[in-house]
């Protein structure tokens, strides 16, 4: 008996059959790499911090008050008298200079590292930085999420996953197997889209959350606890939601592109350009992009790259972020519209392997 519930079962069946190929195909490996690369870097950062903390913590930790009392102009002996033995003490001399040797000392007060540079026995420069700065790391994560995940990883990942669903099978000359089953083309589209969506959401939401956890891992326990108390879970949720919705939106666009045009790289390049110049466009046009809605959901605004030229900074005029509900509904509406176009295209789809 063919009815809508049977068709829904078919959608799920297609998705199940397709999922194994999406998740475990050798050609999907690079998608995992894209999704988990930032987490690997954050883990590297965490390991570095943990090692330093352990190594420096083993030495006599100088109190913050003692370190604050050190002033530029102090002699080496005065500094040692005030702050004690440094955890790092290096002397060096430039070969091409006749200047007296320089000296570098590092102190650690349990959270901050203080770097001191001496020349001719006098302290000429003092810089203080936290061994790890939670606020800064959260900003970095926001940048990684918005610039790397949203603009690159999810974009190219979805390009690979969703284009593969139809164009890839056309290339492998296996698409006709699906078209010779008693399934409406729209049902086939929905099943394949669902498979791609599940894969993209699991991989990229998983990657983003894993990266978030990797960012939190080396932070001070007290700070992390305070963060969770002050709505940290909602941050994690919105990052996950943004990754999922980006997969939803980009996925539908690339699925449709794979059906409508023979070379989906052209719309992909156009979309990449469009999303890339998004910040420079008038507010109305900014709203015609997946990125605008997804970025509106991000709990921390992305920091601007310090390398951004002054002229570009001047031209950048980010539109007011959309309210969360509008962003979610807007993305769902855009996705539905694109999928409707895709469903029209799939009913006209023909098997013509020779032209690909």
């Amino acid at each position: 008996m063919i009815n809508n519930s049977f068709r829904l079962r078919q959608v799920w069946m297609i998705a199940r059959l397709q999922l194994r190929r999406v998740f475990f195909a050798r050609r999907s490996l690079w998608v995992y790499l894209l999704a988990f690369f930032p987490a690997i870097i954050f883990i590297g950062h965490g390991i570095e911090v943990k090692i330093k903390r352990e190594r420096w913590g083993g030495h006599a930790v100088t109190t913050p008050a003692k370190l604050d009392s050190v002033r530029e102009g102090d002699t080496e002996e005065e500094v040692i008298a005030k702050a004690g033995t440094p955890i790092t003490d290096q002397r060096f001399r430039r070969r091409d200079e006749e200047e007296p040797e320089r000296r570098y000392m590092r102190y650690y007060d349990g959270t901050r590292q203080v770097n001191l540079w001496f020349r001719s026995g006098l302290l000429v420069q003092k810089s203080t930085s936290n061994l790890i700065d939670f606020e800064e790391d959260r900003q970095v994560y926001a940048g990684v999420f918005q610039y790397f995940y949203l603009r690159l990883a999810i974009f190219f990942g979805c390009l690979g996953i969703f284009m593969n669903l139809f164009r890839g099978e056309m290339m492998d000359k296996t698409l006709h197997f699906w078209m010779l089953t008693p399934v409406r083309r729209e049902v086939l589209l929905a099943g394949k889209y669902l498979a791609g969506l599940i894969a993209a959401v699991v991989i990229f939401t998983g990657g983003a959350l894993f990266c978030f956890a990797a960012m939190l891992w080396p932070q001070e326990t007290a700070e992390v606890q305070a963060f969770w108390r002050d709505g940290g879970a909602s941050h994690a949720f919105w990052y996950a939601a943004a990754a999922a919705l980006a997969s939803l939106g980009y996925g539908s666009v690339f699925l449709a592109a794979g059906l409508l045009v023979r070379n989906p790289i052209i719309p992909a390049a156009v979309l990449l350009l469009w999303e890339g110049i998004n910040g420079f466009l008038p507010a109305v046009l900014q709203k015609l992009s997946v990125l605008y809605y997804v970025q509106s959901l991000c709990p921390v605004p992305a920091p601007m790259d310090s390398d951004t030229p002054a002229l570009a900074r001047m031209l950048l005029a980010p539109a007011e972020p959309a309210p969360a509900a509008t962003a979610v509904l807007g993305l769902l509406a855009v996705t539905a519209l694109v999928l409707w176009f895709a469903s029209r295209a799939v009913t006209r789809l023909e098997i013509n392997y020779s032209t690909d």
């Binding site: 079962r9 069946m13 492998d172 000359k173 006709h176 078209m179 010779l180 089953t181 023909e350 098997i351």
Partner: protein, 310 residues
């Protein structure tokens, strides 16, 4: 009431500027129907049109009353073994056959049973758990056939199904087609091995340059070509004398005596007159051992029709 036939009305299909098929009108009744034509003549396009893999630019198609644009209905009773020699990456023969069955709504258990049955019918159970990619050409041909018959379809469309099969499996496969046809089902197949089509077909459709040249039973098609001389092989004891009598007749165009002088090959423009003449000769006391149509096969038809009626 659903008509149990495949109907194509004025169907045309173009691939850009390249002609696929042109204004094809056909009625294909149940039984084994063979599409015969040279490479690029439009056989595969016709099969793809019937199964909905491509859509006609003009004209309408119905398969037992269902449009190929409705795969949900059509593929319930249709199976198509294409000539595309590819299988989903990493799929075993069993997975290849059973996966599709789940989409028909069969339970896993039913799908498993039906898949094994289909694999058994094409003698592929031993290799069922091996990856299709590792199959030989003949095995891949068989696994595609298994997939096409797994849901026991009413309409079976097969593109070059006997290609690459060894003689034993070929005989089994032909028997399978015959069994399907005997149950009132459609078996539409294409082949360029003309002898095998000749033997197994209930009707043939000759196609060239995207157009249907002839259709019907082989004998019927042959009868319609009056202007083409028919060939008969006669075995008799007094071949020289009978040849001289026959040669006096207008409808006989050529005679070749056999080296043993006990037979001859006769070309005639009129099968009826030739038949009457033989009856007269036999009645006059010249013994004739046997008369056999020498060109009543697809090869001859094919060469005559596709080759331009030489």
């Amino acid at each position: 009431m659903i008509t149990p036939e495949i109907r194509l009305d004025e169907v045309s299909k173009f691939y850009g500027e390249v002609l696929g098929v042109n204004r094809v009108t056909l009625r294909i009744p149940p039984g084994i129907t063979s599409l015969v034509g040279p490479n690029g003549s439009g056989k595969t396009t016709l099969m793809n049109l019937i199964t909905g893999l491509v859509h006609p630019d003009r004209g309408t198609i119905e398969v037992r009353g269902i449009s190929p644009r409705n795969p949900e209905q059509l593929m319930r009773f249709t199976g198509y073994a294409t000539q595309y020699d590819a299988a989903p990456r990493g799929a075993t023969g069993y997975e290849f056959v059973s996966a599709g069955l789940l989409l028909y709504g069969y339970s896993s258990e039913e799908a498993r049973r039906m898949a094994w049955k289909a694999l058994e019918r094409v003698s592929l159970t031993d290799a069922a758990n091996r990856k299709v990619a590792a199959y030989s050409k003949g095995m891949r041909q068989r696994v595609r056939l298994a997939q096409a018959i797994a849901h026991d379809p009413e309409v079976l469309v097969l593109d070059e199904p006997l290609n690459g099969l060894d003689p034993l499996v070929r005989a089994e496969t032909i028997a399978l087609f015959r069994e399907f046809a005997n149950r009132g089902r459609h078996v539409v197949l294409s082949s360029h091995v003309l002898q095998e089509v000749d033997v197994i077909s209930d009707q043939v459709i000759l196609i060239a340059n995207g157009m249907i040249i002839a259709e019907g039973q082989i004998r019927g098609v042959r009868d319609e070509m009056h202007e083409h001389p028919s060939q008969f092989l006669i075995r008799c004891r007094d071949a020289s004398r009978i040849a001289s009598i026959l040669f006096e007749m207008d409808h006989v165009t050529e005679i070749k005596l056999h080296e043993d002088r006990l037979g001859m090959l006769v070309w005639t423009r009129s099968r009826q007159e030739f038949s009457r003449a033989l009856t007269r000769i036999a009645g006059n006391g010249s013994p004739i051992d046997s008369v056999m149509a020498a060109d009543e096969n697809v090869d001859a038809l094919y060469e005559y029709l596709i080759g331009g009626g030489r």
